[in-house]
């Protein structure tokens, strides 16, 4: 079980080593100590390994992740798991702005709160936030799911395409073309499975969630919508 002390090993060397791991690697677990808010820790992994980070991570932690499981025992800076393709990222503390930005796949779980623009431009990533999310979350989100057990800030889902949003608490306001939609048993099943995958199965009553999505009025240019573009 390699322990990587970032006060001793350079972050560039550590990331380079992670990038060199191929399928069937014998080293499958790394513990990182002294992250001290460094940027791009464990970014760009493409191997089925687990990286556990003890402390607070800086910007773009676990960005572009493929296959790997990255656990942050602390908080994460801007753009955690941005552009994730597959695998999973768990933040035990809070996440800063743009968590899961432009993610194509995989699961991002945030035990604390996420700041503004959580899930911005999501393209298939699934995000579960146990706390609340800030303003403009799921802005221009194209595909994927954002589940918020707490509240959502201003302009949720502004200019959203086809991502699905589930919020259990209050929504301060909806962004342009984001509307509330009925929640069917099928949606609840999927929501329940996702929460189970996120390790929160049975913790909350699924009937407390509301669903939001695209009103599909901004897809094509329309003169009457000029003010909303």
């Amino acid at each position: 079980m390699p322990v990587v002390d970032l006060e001793v090993t350079s972050l560039r060397d550590f990331n380079q080593m992670l990038h060199g791991l191929g399928d069937g690697t014998n080293e499958t677990y790394f513990r990182v100590i002294n992250p001290r808010g460094r940027h791009a820790i464990a970014a760009g992994i493409d191997a089925a390994v687990t990286v556990e980070i003890d402390g607070n991570a800086g910007y773009y932690c676990a960005g572009m992740n493929k296959q790997a499981t990255v656990i942050i025992n602390g908080s994460a800076g801007v753009g955690v798991a941005e552009n994730m393709m597959s695998g999973s990222v768990r933040v035990k503390g809070d996440a800063s702005a743009s968590a899961g930005a432009a993610g194509c796949g995989g699961l991002l779980v945030i035990d604390g709160n996420a700041s503004g623009r959580c899930g911005i431009s999501a393209r298939g990533i699934e995000i579960v936030v146990k706390g609340s999310v800030g303003h403009m979350s799921a802005f221009m989100a194209q595909a994927g799911t954002l589940v918020v057990l707490g509240d959502a800030g201003e302009a949720l889902g502004d200019s959203i395409y086809e991502a699905r949003l589930f919020v259990r608490g209050e929504v301060k306001s909806l962004g342009s073309d984001c509307i509330e939609k009925p929640i069917s048993d099928g949606h609840k099943d999927k929501l329940g499975k996702l929460l189970e995958e996120a390790g929160m199965g049975g913790e909350v009553d699924l009937s407390e969630f509301r669903r939001f999505g695209s009103g599909r009025t901004l897809y094509h240019f329309h003169m009457d919508n000029l003010g909303a573009y």
Partner: protein, 299 residues
């Protein structure tokens, strides 16, 4: 991009270490702003005396000789503390106007860049860690301080364009972001009698706050008003005699992280700046909300 750090001590026992803690915080933000740096530090002081921070064009300036001229003009002793191109003159508050006239009249190219009971204000072009070393920030003491590393976008890399900007007695402002309506606002403020030294957008924000306060607003009210009158991206940190305040624009475009323990409240553009503070592992760490005025003060 720019970097901001701030530290407000709740535990008086840490006051001798303020400068060394700030120097480390400032050093981590070098790559957010390598063009210039500056800081305001709030040390000891009393109502009977005013501290004038003077800035000269070169480090060869004979501040001791200038102090003698000021002493002769005001008929009272002046204490001088020199830090490279800057010096702090401490003199009786009642003699401030006469002292300023003597300094301006000496035509030695020295400017008064800050005034107050406790505030000292230093800034210079160059890498932030080198600037901190030049002024020997690591050996300064005080109750709180704010500092800035600049990556210039809206105006030239000059000492005048470096932050902090003084907004009044014992008050200063640092800014990360860029304002888009600063030219129009500068013209409006100039019509109201304000004078600006640079084309810098932050100087306009500082001038705006000064003007609001001259109209009777408190600093908190002035910051609140700036949410409607300033257009652009900003995270502001303002220093006051007793504490500091934080304001982010309504979409929180620029980063901000805060940490609080029983000993201090700290601000950093990134968590990296806070990572070396004592007890940070147990601190409450959070991001200030957009469009919300925060203040921490000693009462």
């Amino acid at each position: 991009m720019c970097g901001i750090v701030g530290l407000f001590l709740k535990n008086k026992a840490l006051e001798p270490e303020l400068g060394s803690l700030m120097a480390k915080m400032l050093g981590t933000m070098c790559d957010r702003g390598p063009d210039s740096a500056g800081f305001a530090i709030y040390g000891s002081g009393n109502r009977e005396h005013v501290k004038l921070t003077l800035r000269a064009a070169s480090a060869d300036t004979d501040f001791a000789a200038l102090a003698k001229k000021v002493e002769a003009a005001i008929g009272a002793p002046v204490t001088v503390e020199t830090h490279a191109t800057h010096a702090v003159f401490k003199l009786p508050t009642a003699s401030e106007d006469k002292a300023r006239q003597a300094i301006e009249g000496s035509s030695c190219g020295v400017k008064v860049v800050g005034a107050g009971t406790r505030m000292e204000l230093y800034k210079e072009v160059g890498r932030p860690d080198a600037v901190a070393k030049r002024f020997d920030l690591a050996h300064m003491a005080g109750s709180h301080a704010i500092a800035h590393t600049r990556m210039a976008t809206e105006s030239a890399v000059t000492t005048d364009g470096a932050h902090p900007f003084s907004t009044g007695r014992d008050q200063c402002l640092v800014h990360n972001g860029s304002l888009s309506n600063h030219n129009g606002l500068r013209r409006q403020l100039e019509r109201k009698g304000l004078h600006f030294e640079t084309e810098n957008d932050t100087e306009v924000a500082a001038g705006y706050l000064t003007w609001r306060m001259s109209e009777g607003a408190s600093l908190g009210e002035a910051l609140q008003k700036s949410l409607t009158d300033l257009d652009g991206f900003y995270t502001f940190v303002v220093g006051t005699e007793n504490g500091f305040g934080v304001l982010r624009d309504p979409i929180a475009c620029k980063p901000a992280v805060m940490a609080e323990t029983d000993d201090y409240v700290a601000f950093g553009s990134e968590y990296r700046a806070l990572a070396g503070l004592p007890g940070i592992d147990k601190a409450k760490v959070w991001e200030p909300e957009p469009a919300t005025v925060y203040f921490w003060e000693h009462h």
